[in-house]
Amino acid sequence: MSLQVTDLRVYYRTLAGDVQALDGVTFGVADGEIMGLAGESGCGKSTLGNSLIRFDPRMRYIEGHVELDGLDLPIRDTNAMNDFRFSAVSVIPQYAMSALNPTRKIGKMIGELLATKDIDYQKVRPEIERRLDMVGLARDVLTRYPIELSGGMKQRMVMVLSTLLNPSLLIADEITSALDVSTQKAVAQTLVSFRDHEFVNSMMVITHDMSILYQIADSITVMYAGKLAEKAPTSVIINSPRHPYSQMLIASLPEVGVRYADKHLTGIPGNPPSLLNPPGGCRFRARCPLAFEKCLEEPPFIELAPGHSVACWKAV
């Protein structure tokens, strides 16, 4: 097992109280596995990804345990995490593209970042250039400003940068969401080849786009309102999901060729619950067409078959 997360609970402190964004999640990622993490906006995907790399000052560790390659990951200790961040576990944050400092040339920015890790930019420059070639970026991007690059170019730049030290785990947060289809395909395939070239050992690919995960992920984990709803090998989630939420999520994808004039597609009615004071029992209850009395109790996340776990009373 490359990554093992056990009972992780992370809340956000707010004046109104704690936002229970990550409320007890347990899962593992195998060596070489590309794990897809899907779910609606606000369900806690980024919180899970970020908590494995850098606690935001507003984040509050409640409980839980994270192991990477057999070592304890000291996630709650921001300083201790310095030894792991970027070298052992690296992230491509959501909106990384827009976070690039617009007034610094890309090469200069990389130099500064490497300096904080005591790495000499000129020494690693040939490797950077080799990887730029591999992702189809001209080497002269290093002398350009972020504003001069399009979204796809910036995204590939960030990918090269975050995997430069061959981390064990790469967390990619919504990195294909803002890209056009051909670039999206290229970036998604680049992720797969980073794994195949062993630039990274395993990966957590966060996206709400199930069809991208269907293309590249080995397993898909579906989150709902701060908890895991289902985790299974990709073909199982897509073809025979057991959690009603996974089923509705997959059914909301547009079939090719459907037109508004002929047939109106529908999303999932209703909204996810507020995580400030989430309801007890199954958090999907208010939107679930199958809900029954038992659902007032919280369904456990149970392994139905090897590698296939579900949290739903109807599925057990």
């Binding site: 609606e40 399009s150 796809g152 670039t183 080849s193 269907y214 999520l249 547009p254 459907v258 909204n271």
Partner: protein
Amino acid sequence: MLTLDAVSKSYKVGTFGGKELPAVQNVSFEVAPGEVVSLIGESGSGKTTVGKMILRLIGISGGQINLDGNDISAIKGHDLKAYYRKVQGVFQDPFSSFNPMFKADHVLGMMRDEYFAGISAADWTSKVEASLQSVSLNPGQVLNKYPHQLSGGQLQRLLIARALLLDIEILVADEIISMLDASTRIDVVNLLGDLKARGLGILFITHDLSLGNYISERTVILRQGRIVEMGATPGVFGRPLHPYTRMLIDSVPQIHQKWGQIEAGLDATTVWAPAATEPCLYHAAQPGSATTAAPAGLTGSGLVEVEDGHFVGCVQPNADGTCGGRPA
């Protein structure tokens, strides 16, 4: 009716702005009331540049943009403000549109100061609630929150709600659904459907080809700043004429069909180019004239009408825009 007539844009790049980068060249199309036009193209093809020119956020290097027959390419001051009452935009990156120091609904308050100076508090509140409702936002969930307390999807819907506060004719929607999850995307796209039924013209810049196909009347495909194909959406998707359009359609991730073998190599990321043997429909339709001579009704667009209302451009244009393709 919004009309772009041979619109071009060059950015000045390089240390002293010494080099010109032609981002958009010779782009002509229309957005009529009550229709959605999808503008599709890869990263850097110039889609946002087109949107920003329409919204007058950047200048126009060549050509003309008209709203209801009036040239808006150079209007200023009062006229520009009147134009913004009719034409509004929502852009792809919700975060850069918000100032982290202010509450997120500050963007709505700014609209009040700018366009609704005399409105009563009660009228304003019901206006805000109606526009939030129309983008499926619960006022209690989003009002009085700072941007970091809201998800990207919530922020994006808030920006659409802001545009809808005005009684606009044209909405430029640049990748507004790219940060939204699949189930919410459908709702927002259906919302665009409601808006077009109310007579709004929408330029829907998107990379989601399935949803572009779903919602739009017409589709414009942009490559390297030039239109390569445009026409009624069922024609463009059902009978694509340009090999680039076919490649885009093949790249769409589908749920029960894999892209095909994902190669260990990374050559998939190299820039698309037509096969040397690819025949050029433009050349075929303009025998003997390897130029950008315009079909009737289009000023120098470099397109040729292959079937009713379905246009295609040259497969391999030369740097000056002339046809470099081979006959079919």
